[in-house]
Symmetry: D3
């Protein structure tokens, strides 16, 4: 029967390798563990996570990575509930060349589009990300949930 | 005067009893404590919580409970902020006959409708629910707030 | 068999009558048509709509109707997508004693909690409501969907 | 240079063909035009739309298509702003074997998770979908935007 | 060059002083620390936070502070993700003359507009605020993040 | 009495003039009419709209205007309901130097953060903005509400 069912995904495939390379570039040393944890819960979710945003979208040259990351910071700020992912992308923005001031500026700009509650939450998450980057890692105020 | 004010609700009424029976069927042993805690804060909230979704909506035969619970899992996944309720309904879905794989599949499907941040949060909450069901209850990573 | 299935709801019941009285008080002459239209699509939806928010919540004396309506205007403003219902509740607020200036003030206050896009949309919907109240009903800019 | 840039996607590839077959099964005759319109605006968006949710997620056997579609109806109902996509998926649910009563029931159930504004909007969009299926297609009340 | 760049904001200016007076009235003794913490992260964010909602919006006489705060409680309840700010405003509502029963009533009313998940989260946050006011401050269930 | 009430705002003040200059730079010829329409409904809303995001946030040099506008496009895309404002900012992005391809790319990237429904709506709004810029202004498919 032709119906594709529970495909075994081939992690040696070019699209998966390209995605993993990109995710490592953005997330740094935590990348492999992040995907491994998702894969343990839902292999299909992990496959899509690697191949679609990272293997496909982020590897296109149309827009530079720093601008992409600032746009993602803006998007996650206005959503209000995406704190774990926002923390990840604040770090990714720094890794892609954004300064701390630029990240804070975009979050501040978002006040106009999402109001103070979401923007304030984002600012606090940004601080946690900065603290972790500073190795002050022993933050006593963890983000809502750590899944990195 | 005819104006209905602060009605004393009759918890022996058929609609309340039907709601409590339904909520126990879905939430299991935690059901009574859950409602009791809400009632201590806002009796009207508790009354509505028992009689409306559980006493009224969920007891209609049009759709089987398992499908209803998967739809609720889908809805809470895309909302992004409903983690405590999502955890409750992941367990309710299992109790109503859904497999773990089916729950993970619906959350994975939701990537297409809410993106990765909300879907990833839901996946992590699903894991917490599974862990609690497994008696691994001593989870060090509690959902945002426990009100069960 | 005891399982409650597709209950025929008794519209002469006190809770339904109380709800219809309340909904007429708030929505005015459009109330009956509004519920009739919903009932034609989903009788259960209509029953719940009449008995739950209107028959139950709004008839409690704890908070006066004008304050309740301003709170609902605030809530629908920040949601951003509830334009048809917001229009209804702007009119209900006026009917419950709020001035136009007070409605505009609450929407303006909401800028701080939802940002300009949602607040601006609400302001435009408020204008449509005012225009309709003024009998300028031939508004060329209908809300997203009319279901009153 | 190895950097993957603006890839030319191969629409004869198995994943694209599988996605188009699935999208036609769900959306019916409007499928090809829908994708063509998106492709004219953003070829990458169209490629991802075909290969990711349709070519990848929906073709897995874990959950039957009817249940998947009801879950999508639930998700789009609570989002509140996804009316054009909800209309599409109401029709897809019918095409996959759901009855009109089942679709209405899920939307009614969602009142408990998203409140009346979002659920009422969804009910009205459901009606538009039913009307279009009935060939009453000349609906004078179009959804917010038609992009089918 | 005329382009205004990184303005040094003058905290002795009337608008800033007026904003700080208002924020102290509403938030009480925690006000200064709250703003100081934000300023350490993003001075522009803090300036806007003081001068815009507090210095500008809340000091207008059109609507009394108690009603304003209940509207803000309603708005933050339906947002679902604004728990730290909701806790602040529950306390502010009490400080502006609202009773605990009135706060609970507005959150209960919101069930109709946002469903149970968001309303239940709000109810639990309300409880935390009440507990803190009661000096039971050693709450074991902290809000998602404390940034007061 | 010192209490500031309904302040008469001075539109010759530097902050207002700076805001109007900025809003004209971004929105072009439609800027004055846009603010005038808001002012007719709620003068306070208009004052805040001019002085806060435009007079204050957008005139800071930390981030160039093109990047700011792309971030705003990202934010409004994920919100899902901000179509009129998104159309405005798509045009503003072009006016600030972004290419059409860059705008489409950011909206496509957002699929990963908000899913297809919100991203597809944004893509269609982008097309309307492009059409209007092309003088094809006689678009038969207006955005949900025109308030420019």
């Amino acid at each position: 029967m032709a119906k594709k069912k529970l495909r075994d995904h081939d992690e040696t495939a070019a699209e998966y390798q390209r995605g993993m390379a990109e995710i490592r570039k953005q997330l740094g040393p935590m990348a492999d563990g992040y995907i491994r944890r998702i894969k343990a819960l839902a292999p299909e979710f992990a496959w899509v996570n690697v191949t679609f945003p990272f293997g496909e979208l982020y590897t296109r040259d149309v827009i530079d990575l720093k601008t992409r990351e600032l746009c993602t910071v803006a998007a996650l700020t206005v959503q209000g509930f995406s704190q774990p992912e926002l923390k990840l992308h604040v770090k990714a923005a720094l890794r892609c060349g954004a300064s701390r001031g630029e990240v804070a500026e975009i979050i501040t700009q978002m006040i106009a589009y999402c109001g103070f509650p979401a923007a304030t939450n984002a600012l606090m998450t940004m601080k946690e990300a900065f603290d972790e980057v500073d190795g002050a890692g022993k933050s006593k105020k963890p983000a809502r949930r750590k899944h990195k």
